[in-house]
């Protein structure tokens, strides 16, 4: 294979990376300096760095409480997703009557936008007596169709021979799932974890409706607090955005390698 010079590629990627990062850099810079909310022309480098805005965020809202709530809810969502999606994904690798219907059903469920389901979802949560609870906040997100198919694809890639051998040994489906499929699909698990975490962590509209008392609020809801009383943005808003961003980035960083592999087995097998 011909060797292409790598520096043009690096150049393009650097430019793209800069474009991707610049907005975030701008937010970060404003969160530590407070320039550019009112000042013009914008300064490229931070002057007079201070952390007051971060302190503001910490004290202005019950940050720890919200953080705990968000973490608990996301934890439930992640665990729920991994367990339920794995189960469903495995079921879809088997043949059974009604499978086609189930698949079509799942695919069409993906097309139902959340904003249109708010009120009925609220009423259902109320019937289940789960209003204002972490579980109530988490439940609608505890299974996602895309992730079911990711698991399915990963399981499809497990060599038939292993499964047949296990069946001959008399292992039931649940055991097969737990002992053979899952260990070979850590990538799919990582994918589920990252996506479930990001989607639940950033969820704004559902907590807005379902949470009535302040102590159960999750972190994103606090966002509107920083769009202050007179609807002007404050420096604390930018600090807040950064603070909310960090856990998602962390989760991604930790599971990065396996996340990418997870999408490999998910994507090509179909």
């Amino acid at each position: 294979m011909r060797r292409t010079p790598t520096w043009p590629i690096h150049l393009v990627l650097l430019v793209v990376s800069a474009a991707m990062v610049t907005p975030l850099y701008w937010v970060l810079k404003t969160s530590i300096t407070g320039d550019n909310i009112f000042a013009y022309p914008p300064a490229l480098f931070p002057r007079h760095v201070h952390l007051y805005y971060y302190v503001d965020v910490w004290y202005y809202i019950p940050f720890v409480r919200f953080l705990v709530n968000s973490t608990l809810v996301s934890l439930i969502v992640v665990v729920g997703n991994v367990v339920f999606n794995a189960m469903a994904g495995y079921a879809l690798t088997l043949a059974f009557r009604g499978k086609r219907a189930v698949v079509l059903l799942l695919l069409s469920c993906m097309m139902i936008p959340f904003q249109a389901t708010i009120i009925p979802a609220y009423l259902i949560t109320k019937e289940l007596r789960l209003l204002n609870t972490h579980l109530g906040l988490a439940l609608p997100l505890c299974s996602t169709i895309v992730c079911i198919f990711v698991f399915k694809a990963a399981f499809d890639a497990v060599p038939r021979s292993l499964i047949d051998a296990a069946r001959i040994d008399g292992l039931g489906d649940l055991r097969i799932l737990a002992r053979i499929m899952l260990p070979l699909s850590t990538a799919a698990v990582a994918t589920n974890v990252i996506l479930a975490f990001i989607w639940s962590w950033n969820n704004f509209l559902w907590p807005l409706i379902v949470v009535r008392n302040q102590e159960m609020q999750t972190l994103p809801l606090a966002l509107s607090t920083f769009l202050s009383y007179l609807e002007n943005t404050t420096g604390a808003l930018y600090a807040f955005c950064i603070m909310v961003l960090i856990p998602g980035v962390l989760v991604f960083a930790l599971a990065q390698k396996q996340f990418v592999e997870g999408l490999t087995s998910g994507a090509t097998k179909g």
Binding site: I119, T133, H134, L135, I209, S224, L227, L230
Partner: protein, 414 residues
């Protein structure tokens, strides 16, 4: 291993469900929903404390939502049958609920406590009167006025604020040179309506069943404004901005005249370095027309204890708390006794604020833009989007008005 996993999951779920709060037992409870005043938390706790002196065994749940979130929250609660007992509503949103039998008629309460009826300004109460029933009482009031940049006026050779629509546009043209513009207005909740009222335009027929604004004078006024906008005399942000943008524009000192309500002043003063008693002029719009944008207290029909809700409202709007509110958040309350004291306070402490707030209770017979129509939200939307298109030069004025008329008539018929 799988089994262990399931057990752990089950335990987590049980724990989470167990942590679920018990539905309120024997305790009475009322809930209060306010509109975007989280900064006022301490004082609201004062309201609650005073209320509980009268009703010690009643819990009060206080909720606060910002404007855009207030709607979905309240709608969902309505559907679920758990709407907050006391609600603080801005502008015309209450009409929808009143028309659909969602608010308690406060008439009997006011009649029962006559001193309370005289307590609220009788010129302001009608703002919340729909089909003969009184649905809300004032919490804090505001209406539009004309701010002007004295420096810019002087530079254009003008000596006084305009006193007619023609003068308004003319002055705007004189001041609107280069980067500067001569006039700007807020556009939400019918706040721009005085511009039409000045030209004798009525929105609807007297019986409220048909659109009545498609008249030659309206077309002429709209056309004049559109041309002035195109020429930069009227700042485009008037028609495209929400709240922050127009205020920021005026604060930057490049706009000659600004039609806005009192809260805008306090916002603008914060970021407008040029503002002082010498440089900021305060006046009524030509003809004295103004659109109110007040907050009222009402009681949801689904409330199980409307009497308690009423008592709470009385506490929140009584002299002590009304005065505190007015002086802390710089608004008038719609209760004349209290407003006089608030004005006195500002006259001493902050003469410029005083001059602004004074206008909020003048010309209360010239209030416009506050029709009591059940479908106010839809009419407002239909009308404004059409004229916005005309004002931004996308459509001729006559066509915009005709289409608006068609849409509004349709809304009224449905």
């Amino acid at each position: 291993m799988k089994l262990v996993r399931l057990v752990v999951l089950g335990a987590v779920l049980m724990a989470a469900v167990a942590g679920c709060p018990e539905t309120a037992a024997a305790q009475q409870k009322i809930s209060v929903l306010t509109w975007n005043i989280p900064v006022y938390k301490e004082k609201i706790e004062g309201w609650i404390a005073d209320f509980r002196k009268i009703h010690p065994d009643v819990q009060v749940e206080w909720l606060d939502k910002k404007g855009p979130e207030w709607g979905p929250f309240y709608q969902t609660q309505l559907v679920a049958g758990t709407a907050p007992d006391v609600i603080d509503v801005q502008g015309g949103l209450w009409l929808e609920y009143a028309a659909n039998n969602g608010l308690v008629d406060l008439g009997p309460f006011l009649a029962r406590d006559p001193e309370v009826k005289d307590y609220y300004n009788p010129r302001i109460l009608p703002s919340w009167n729909y089909e003969g029933k009184q649905y809300m009482v004032p919490f804090y009031i505001s209406k539009t006025l004309l701010f002007y940049n004295k420096t810019m006026l002087k530079e254009a050779g003008l000596t006084r604020p305009p006193q007619s629509f023609e003068e308004l546009v003319d002055f705007a043209r004189q001041m609107g040179k280069g980067e500067k513009s001569g006039f700007m207005t807020l556009n939400f909740d019918w706040l721009y309506w005085p511009l039409f009222a000045m030209n004798g335009v009525e929105l609807l027929s007297p019986d409220g069943k048909k659109a009545a604004f498609n008249t030659p004078s309206a077309a002429k006024a709209l056309d004049t404004l559109a041309k002035a906008t195109a020429d930069g005399a009227v700042n485009k942000v008037s028609w495209t901005g929400r709240w922050v943008e127009p205020n920021d524009a005026f604060a930057s000192g490049t706009v000659g005249m600004y039609q806005a309500h009192a809260p805008a002043f306090f916002y603008v003063r914060g970021s407008g370095k040029w503002i002082s008693a010498d440089t900021l002029g305060v006046a009524q719009m030509p003809g004295g027309f103004a659109t109110p944008n007040s907050h009222g207290f009402g009681i949801s029909k689904s409330s199980k204890r409307p009497d308690l809700a009423w008592d709470f409202i009385k506490v929140a709007t009584n002299e002590k708390w009304g005065y505190t509110f007015g002086t802390t958040l710089r608004n008038l309350t719609g209760a004349p006794r209290v407003d006089t004291r608030i004005l006195e306070y500002f006259q001493k402490e902050d003469p410029l604020a005083y001059s602004v707030l004074k206008t909020q209770v003048e010309n209360l017979d010239k209030l416009v833009g506050n029709w009591r129509q059940a479908k106010d939200a839809q009419i407002k939307e239909a009308f404004y989007t059409e004229i916005q298109a005309a004002l931004l030069g996308r459509k001729p004025a006559a066509q915009a008005l005709a289409e608006a008329e068609r849409k509004v008539n349709r809304i009224l018929q449905r």
